[in-house]
Symmetry: C2
């Protein structure tokens, strides 16, 4: 039998999907499962943007241009301008989800054997794409004890080697919910300029910043015109995860030329969801107000419930819709599996993402979980009832 590739063997399985079979089995037994494990919001996709797809008059479902429809790229510049990001359509490639933007960045900027510095814990799929590309992820620690703030500049300096080509951040952060400060972004800029590194900035959660904090894009950092690459997606912004539309944005023409060749190889991003994405730019400007208020109240509820549990630690996340919690258990993966296999409370249980999968350093995050507050307050309350009861009962 022919054997698969080493990269296929080494590719990490998705930490958020590993427990899915146990959840399926729980549902088969009639147990309700509250899904706090995955960033799939229950927020309605704005009906007007779904209608834009429903009302298309096309007769042939054609390829779009490899960079995306010109009309959409032009429209996106309006969206970015409203967010203090001045870009031209030529500086935007529409991608198949934020995932493809991540891949274009890694493939265009790093070769096999090169290194990318990423503060951990980090979005697990960064590791997947790096592994596929033969790129080494060098983690920089951030810790629940300091609320997942970036470490001091010296820690970055120590991590830079001759093979380092880029630093990657997610801001606000998945999985921690941490929102980087202007001072932290200045630190990142200084390191990137000093060592000539790319800064990949995943800003999928740009609109989800709380307590009056303002989001700062990597593309607004002075002097970073050739260094900053913005990775974006409409998935969370408009609750449109299934559309698979994102964007790769940079002012570096060499990077854009390289990314464009990867874009041409896959021909084009999906047509239908580009229509949806274009309509989304024209949503009333107050669209996010309601969504924002909803997520704020969910966050406040979730964190206050967690903090009230004995032995549980949970810093208040400043953005995105995730919280990391430290639990009084030795192995959160075993605990999460037990929640699905061996526990129920009022006929229900809760599914969370064990945090170890978000760390590159073996052994880290073993007593942490990531919770996505993508359910309504009533469900979050019920899920927290389950978790509280489970922690009381768990012997593991």
């Amino acid at each position: 039998m022919p054997v698969i590739s080493h990269r296929g063997a080494q590719m990490p399985p998705s930490p958020i999907r590993k427990l899915v079979p146990y959840a399926d089995a729980a549902k088969k037994r009639g147990t309700k499962v509250y899904h706090l494990n995955i960033g799939q919001p229950d927020i309605e996709t704005p009906p007007s943007i779904l209608d834009a797809v429903r009302h298309t008059h096309m007769t042939v479902l054609e390829y779009s241009p490899s960079a995306g429809f010109d009309s959409y790229r032009k429209k996106l510049t309006e969206y970015y301008k409203r967010n203090n990001i001045d870009v031209t359509p030529a500086q935007i490639i529409v991608t198949t989800g934020g995932s493809e933007a991540i891949m274009f960045a890694i493939m265009s900027c790093l070769d096999a054997g090169d290194e990318i510095i990423i503060p951990e814990p980090f979005y697990a799929n960064y590791n997947g794409y790096a592994t596929g590309a033969g790129v080494k992820v060098v983690p920089i620690p951030s810790s629940i004890d300091s609320g997942f703030a970036l470490p001091a500049i010296e820690v970055f300096e120590k991590a830079v080697t001759t093979r380092t080509k880029a630093i990657m951040i997610c801001n606000p952060n998945n999985p921690t919910g941490y929102l980087y400060s202007a001072a932290e972004l200045d630190v990142l800029r200084d390191i990137c300029l000093k060592h000539d590194l790319f800064l990949f900035s995943d800003e999928a959660y740009r609109e989800f910043c709380y307590d009056g904090a303002k989001h700062i894009s990597a593309l607004s950092l002075e002097g970073m015109e050739n260094h900053a690459i913005l990775l974006d997606t409409i998935s969370k912004r408009y609750s449109a995860c299934g559309g698979r539309i994102g964007a790769f944005v940079s002012r570096n023409t060499h990077v854009m030329d390289a990314a464009m060749k990867f874009a041409q190889a896959r021909l084009s991003p999906p047509t239908f969801a580009q229509i949806l994405g274009e309509a989304a730019v024209d949503l009333p400007l107050d669209y996010f107000d309601k969504v924002h208020a909803e997520y704020t109240s969910r966050r406040d509820l979730l964190v206050s419930r967690l903090k009230a549990m004995k032995g549980v630690k949970c810093p208040l996340p400043g953005g995105a819709f995730y919280a990391m919690a430290q639990l009084p258990v030795a192995d959160s993966e075993k605990f999460c599996q037990w929640l699905l296999e061996g526990f129920s409370h009022n006929g229900a249980t809760v599914m969370m993402a064990p945090a170890a999968g978000f760390y590159a350093t073996p052994g880290k995050g073993k007593n942490e979980v990531r919770l996505a507050y993508v359910l309504n307050r009533e469900d979050i309350n019920a899920a927290m009832d389950c978790l509280e009861a489970a922690l009381g009962e768990y012997k593991g």
Copy 2:
């Protein structure tokens, strides 16, 4: 300034999109351009499958499962059964276009430095994905003089090295239109089994076989359960290129496990076009009859017009909707550019794909072009009038 990756620099630009700026300029001057350069059919997407998307009742555009909707995978097994391919839903991963299926195959089965044997000329994006993955393409010659039949088995044997992991074919072939015979597929099977190689079979054009010939899938070859990987797409089948839905199909569980991890990294294939693809399986079985008749008449017209031109050679393609033609010019890329820059006939010109971009061997195919017969007969006739006049006028 940070520098892009070597793979980003080495990535070949798309040979079919290189001349697009010249075509755009021609259109700006008011010249009509007949597009025979790209496999974008003018055939109507079946209205009923577009309606399936228009009539969706979703309120949240959610992620689908990473392998695609269960209902769609199940439905696809019906489609494959009708085509003498017995597979289960677990042997299918729904992909973002055929492009992603190609990528999953290369990434799951080959490492950087490994070799893949591909009969040339071949679909240019195979080279793009191989380059991105650090995989070496080893071309095996097929020639216009023998109608692009596969070379003798000895030629394959000579190309196999210790790094060879796979053979890749497109059947029926893009760009040549060649349909592989049962005998040729048996040769491929014997080599794959002897040297334990994967066989990647791109069957995007399965339905487009002419003159009563039957298509044979790599998945129907005996003894190849662990070796054959089918790469598929709905793009050409239902004129649904913009949907970006394909499939990766194999009975090798190790390969499926590896591909599944790459599938999880990009979360899910696009939701809307999966709905369209699922509806397509239920199209009346005679749907292809009309499409098939249309392409047959286009092929016959195109080839007879080409053969009537002095110095032009064009073997009759047995499948797909492409023809390769040898022209009485020294450099078909220059000629194609001149057609767009310096020529018009009755206010129109024709755009073709220079064939050199489909060959891996430098210098090959320099006097050949690929023509996609994706326009109606009237337009094909007008395009051939242009080509005939141009060949008479061209001094290059």
